[in-house]
């Protein structure tokens, strides 16, 4: 009757599989002649595995709430880094640094969110912070692929709008959770103030031509007021506004016309504007069910394959089944996050976790849908998978917040 009888009830099995996938995947890429047997590939794989083991063990042993999200996040990260290694080694090496930073940010976000108790009182700070980020972007920003949404400080560039999304969710959560109930200037109810803030932020994003983020932000707002706002007229009004703005955009904005035209028929202008989406579809169509095999495909024909279009590369080399698996993983993460939101007892926590989850799910839907030409393409990154420092770090930070909320609920429900 010793330790040998204390069998683990299954928490380790998926972890073993994850490790197995990484060992096989990075090992395979290492023996690819084209990579010149670069040892850094193995170090990259080792870094992913070590970070996973550290974080997972910390979550399980430290009773830091949900144990499943991190498992799935690391499956996505593994797939993403494997593909990046295969697309462009230097991207992969930079990405792994960002993932390590992201891991640290995850714990920082966890502890800060867990321990600070006045988040729900700071709506004006979120608003001012978001506005400042927008102003900085407009003044100092650089234009990348038609959207002016990057700031470069020395060698580091980042996308402030990624941070703004979180601030925006926190700001909305103050209002929806009821913590911000005092009318502004004695007259303006929070409901209208939140509406105003939404439209101000969307206005800034229009100036930056960041259509993807507009879609995500406005949808977060709509879902939030659907769940929380008893005044259903407000929701109806906003949906009308969305339709009208959409139609006006379609009528008058060249950018949007091009996107819609490319969605309906990329083939007629294939050498020019339809090029990218057509290349993406070529990649997907070449993969079949099981893919051409890691390193066998030609994902580099797709412009931007390392960031927005990485899903097409996954479909080419890991097949449609690989693509469906990624969609499933994202859905399972979203499902867990929704559950955390439902279990959360604090209204602010509930609203924040709901908002973050909607952001995460919609972002995934919009970019995957765009890449496979189910919906018009709007350039945003695929969380945890696409190359990109800001995207990775902010995704980790938002999962840190969710993790903190789940830990709060678990500890309240479990021990006293």
């Amino acid at each position: 009757m010793g330790m040998d009888r204390l069998k683990s009830a299954g928490y380790r099995k998926p972890a073993y599989l994850l490790i197995l996938l990484n060992v096989l995947g990075f090992g395979l890429l290492f023996i690819n002649k084209e990579n010149n047997y670069n040892l850094n590939i193995l170090y990259t794989g080792a870094a992913v595995m070590v970070l996973f083991l550290v974080m997972y063990t910390a979550l399980v042993l430290g009773r830091m709430g949900d144990k499943f999200i991190m498992l799935m996040v690391f499956m996505l990260i593994s797939i993403g880094v494997l593909l990046l290694c295969r697309i462009n080694l230097s991207y992969a090496f930079r990405q792994i640094i960002w993932i390590l930073v992201g891991g640290a940010v995850f714990f920082i976000a966890y502890f800060v969110y867990y321990n600070v108790k006045i988040w729900n009182k700071l709506w004006y700070l979120y608003f001012i912070g978001g506005t400042l980020l927008f102003l900085i972007t407009l003044v100092f920003g650089t234009t990348v692929y038609g959207s002016k949404n990057w700031i470069s400080i020395g060698p580091i560039s980042f996308q402030p709008s990624e941070i703004t999304k979180i601030l925006f969710i926190m700001c909305l959560a103050c209002y929806t959770s009821g913590s911000w109930s005092k009318p502004l200037l004695g007259k303006v109810k929070p409901k209208w103030a939140a509406l105003l803030i939404t439209y101000v932020f969307v206005g800034f994003l229009v100036l930056q031509r960041d259509w993807g983020t507009i879609l995500v932000m406005f949808s977060i707002y709509l879902f939030m007021i659907y769940v929380y706002e008893p005044d259903k007229k407000l929701l109806a009004l906003n949906i009308c506004a969305l339709v009208i703005i959409g139609l006006l955009g379609w009528r008058f904005l060249y950018h949007i016309q091009v996107r819609i035209a490319n969605w309906i028929d990329p083939w007629s202008d294939i050498s020019n504007r339809g090029y990218q989406i057509a290349q993406s579809l070529f990649a997907i169509s070449s993969g079949g069910y099981f893919g051409r095999g890691l390193g066998n495909g030609s994902p580099n024909y797709i412009p931007l394959v390392h960031s927005d279009f990485i899903f097409a590369a996954i479909c080419e080399e890991m097949g449609v089944f690989g693509g469906v698996a990624v969609i499933l993983l994202f859905f399972l993460i979203a499902y867990r996050c929704f559950k955390i939101s439902i279990m959360a007892s604090d209204p602010f926590d509930k609203a924040v976790s709901f908002g973050v989850t909607v952001m995460f799910a919609l972002q995934t839907f919009i970019i995957i849908g765009g890449v496979i030409k189910m919906i018009p393409l709007t350039g945003i990154t695929l969380p945890f998978v696409s190359y990109g420092g800001t995207s990775v770090v902010i995704s980790f930070a938002s999962m840190g917040i969710i993790q903190a909320i789940s830990a709060k609920a678990e500890r309240k429900g479990g021990a006293q």
């Binding site: 009757m1 330790m3 009888r5 204390l6 069998k7 683990s8 009830a9 299954g10 928490y11 099995k13 998926p14 599989l17 994850l18 197995l20 996938l21 096989l24 995947g25 395979l28 023996i31 690819n32 002649k33 399980v60 042993l61 009773r63 499943f68 498992l71 799935m72 499956m75 797939i79 099981f290 893919g291 051409r292 095999g293 890691l294 390193g295 066998n296 080399e317 890991m318 097949g319 089944f321 690989g322 698996a325 499933l328 993983l329 399972l332 499902y335 867990r336 559950k339 279990m343 678990e410 500890r411 429900g413 479990g414 021990a415 006293q416």
Partner: protein
């Protein structure tokens, strides 16, 4: 066709299998987790899903007398909270202290993050564990024998 692309093609099937088995494991764990939380009462429980806890001699004397036997039908949460399936009103027992449940032929026990912890056969447990008949479960100072 090079050797590399051959290996890679073979591995593409392996990868697909690994990822899907991984997903199936995770879904199973989530399912167990959700089931544990839902704490349903079900009268139509098969015999093998019935077990019991029998208090035995302990270091600590209970403040209120214990029953001779606590029955578990499929699943039971043990704690101080009156909503628990098995209520043990002692100060060293947490509101919701631990859960025992039956799943696919095995009995499982998990500590629900109690303050004073749970031991089985003298070992403090951290993860879920599989229970065997005659295991001694200690909650605070109270000992129970697990019987099926």
């Amino acid at each position: 066709m090079t050797v590399y692309s051959f290996i890679s093609t073979i591995l593409s099937y392996v990868f697909t299998v690994i990822i899907y088995v991984f997903i199936i494991f995770v879904i199973r764990l989530i399912y167990l987790d959700v089931k544990k939380m839902s704490r349903f009462e079900d009268n139509s429980i098969a015999d093998e899903a019935c077990a019991s806890l029998r208090p035995v001699k302990s270091k600590t004397e209970p403040r209120s007398p214990l029953k001779r036997r606590y029955n578990i039908y499929g699943e039971a949460v043990i704690g101080r909270n009156p909503e628990c399936d098995i209520v043990i009103n002692e100060s060293f027992v947490s509101q919701k202290h631990l859960i025992i449940w039956y799943e696919g032929g095995e009995w499982y026990l998990e500590d629900l993050g109690s303050r004073n912890g749970t031991t089985i056969n003298g070992k403090r447990i951290l993860n879920e564990v599989i229970l065997d008949p005659e295991d001694v479960i200690s909650i605070g100072g109270l000992n129970f024998v697990f019987e099926t």
